[in-house]
């Protein structure tokens, strides 16, 4: 399911002393089945942008198209339910949304709201809890007794159980340890490649962008200043963002941007490049 934005602007508290323009004239498309990362400094409008994608906020100007549904500032609340079913949204620290007595009931909440029967909801909940790696023995526990990482996975399952076609995430790995981050990112990549889901993720981690994203949007002061592949973005000599650690390491090592091969952007690429350049038995490493 494709999401398109046409001349979209968003202003908070219009016509009041607190008026604040968060987005200006945004034009872009999130293609079906792609993994798009959204990066930018705090206050650049990333969070506002993603709230527009499932109708939590309506654009002040312009229009957002989700599949075949058009959202403008005149769209009625009733029409948004279908959009919210199609576009799943995982907020920052999603464990804050947990409320039910048991893990299973919490995950069933979404499907039930979207009109599934009790049995169907239960089936979906069990399936997605397994998918995110929560053991069946935890299903009947209170979600508040789980560890932080487990709570986050339950919250993620709660959104996935609504079976959205597009998944939008706001800094999903904030506060996770490196292993937790890696697990989560691999799960997202799997959802994209195996189930054809469209993934849109706000992040500050350039390593995650380099390793997992197909497309990256850079935002600044409420505008999109770059919309390209991670490789294009990081290879640009006037880079708009901080480079991933692997690229930084390589640039320091080479002391200049004058080299024949491509700039490595992930850890694996870095190792391969270094072996090729400095090792004698490069093929042995593979």
């Amino acid at each position: 399911m494709e999401i398109k934005l046409k001349h979209v602007g968003y202003t908070y508290s219009l016509n009041s002393p607190l008026e604040f323009t968060a987005l200006q004239d945004i034009n872009l498309a999130f293609p079906t089945g792609k993994f798009t990362a959204v990066v930018g400094k705090t206050g650049s409008g990333k969070s506002t942008l993603i709230k527009l994608l499932n109708g939590l906020e309506l654009p002040t100007t312009g229009e957002v198209t989700v599949g075949d549904q058009v959202i403008t500032n005149r769209t009625k609340a009733k029409q948004l339910k279908q959009v919210r079913k199609n576009v799943g949204m995982v907020f920052q620290f999603p464990e804050n949304q947990l409320f039910a007595e048991t893990v299973l009931k919490d995950v069933m909440f979404g499907p039930l709201n979207f009109g599934k029967s009790e049995n169907e909801a239960k089936e979906l909940a069990e399936k997605w809890l397994a998918e995110v790696g929560i053991q069946a023995s935890l299903f009947e526990q209170s979600p508040f007794e789980l560890s932080g990482g487990q709570m986050r996975r339950v919250a993620l399952a709660g959104v996935l159980a609504c079976e959205p076609e597009v998944l939008v995430l706001d800094e999903p790995s904030a506060g996770l340890d490196p292993a937790g981050n890696q697990n989560l990112m691999q799960l997202l990549k799997k959802l994209q490649t195996e189930r054809g889901m469209t993934i849109i993720m706000v992040t500050h981690s350039m390593e995650n962008v380099a390793e997992f994203a197909d497309q990256v949007l850079v935002m600044k002061n409420g505008k999109v200043i770059a919309d390209e592949t991670p490789r294009e973005l990081f290879s640009d000599s006037q880079s708009l963002v901080e480079l991933p650690e692997a690229s930084q390491f390589y640039l320091k090592l080479m002391k200049s941007r004058q080299f024949n091969n491509e700039l490595p952007i992930t850890k694996n690429e870095l190792i391969k490049t270094l072996v090729k350049q400095f090792g004698q038995k490069g093929d042995q490493y593979e």
Binding site: L18, R84, N96, Q97
Partner: protein, 265 residues
């Protein structure tokens, strides 16, 4: 962002912001008293003009102010209408079943309408132009005599200041949780009362969990920064009472006494 502006502080630098918060509180209370003891129409006109001047002085903008107080104005209007319909006395203009419109009813309903309107406007201006921390300190100052009957004012002041400080934080948190549940398909519109109560559980449980966690963290961080109770506290922000405040207070008092003498006796 909330459209509901009652009680929300809007930072600013105009004269009304620079006045001492105690002076402002006294003025607000006197204005409200004046409107409640007043019976004459000219009195109300004068008070409304004063309110208008205060709104202008605060520089928040008429449109914004009206939008924020609209809710209260409707409520007051509704109560007045009920009062008109159910009060009896004086000349009766219309009568049907239990409803009566009489001259007496219209009179007291109009009085009540203007009194509450003035009270709401004055309080809104006070809360909009005074920093919550200053309000807390002022109230603590007013309660000073309670110290002699064994009330620990520093603790109460601290609780009040923390409470006010966390109002916007918690408002944001409610918005976030609400958004997260909306994304999971909760529909707050078009629901029966029963299912509305049921879905509010999905907001309040996470909210309370967060509040408790926040309170615990705040307590730890206060202890780590050396907070202990029972000590004599000083304040980071000293409220200054300037000559101008004294002059303004004298002016307000004279105006109030004059108003009472002319319109209420």
């Amino acid at each position: 962002m909330n459209k509901f502006i009652f009680g929300q502080y809007l930072p600013g630098t105009t004269l009304i912001y620079r006045l001492n918060p105690l002076l402002k509180l006294i003025t607000a209370v006197l204005l409200i008293i004046a409107s409640f003891v007043n019976h004459s129409w000219i009195g109300f006109v004068i008070l409304l003009v004063i309110c208008g001047l205060l709104i202008r002085m605060s520089k928040v903008g008429w449109k914004f102010f009206l939008k924020g107080t609209k809710f209260f104005i409707y409520i007051i209007l509704l109560t007045s209408i009920i009062q008109v319909l159910f009060s009896k006395g004086g000349q009766v203009y219309w009568h049907w079943g239990i409803f009566t419109i009489s001259s007496f009813g219209i009179h007291i309903a109009t009085l009540a309408f203007f009194r509450f309107l003035i009270a709401i406007v004055v309080l809104t201006i006070y809360l909009m132009t005074t920093d919550p921390a200053d309000i807390a300190q002022t109230i603590q100052g007013i309660c000073y005599p309670l110290k002699f009957v064994g009330v620990n004012l520093d603790d109460i002041g601290l609780v009040a200041a923390i409470g006010l400080r966390f109002v916007p934080t918690l408002t944001d948190e409610v918005t976030n949780i609400k958004n997260a549940q909306k994304a999971r398909g909760i529909d707050f519109q078009k629901q029966s009362i029963f299912s509305r109560i049921k879905s509010s559980v999905a907001i309040f449980v996470p909210l309370f969990m967060n509040v408790f966690r926040r309170a615990e963290q705040l307590a730890s961080s206060m202890i780590l920064r050396g907070y202990t109770d029972g000590k004599k506290r000083t304040h980071l922000r000293q409220l200054k009472w300037s000559k101008f405040d004294s002059l303004a207070l004298i002016g307000v008092m004279i105006g109030f006494c004059g108003f009472i003498l002319i319109f209420c006796i």
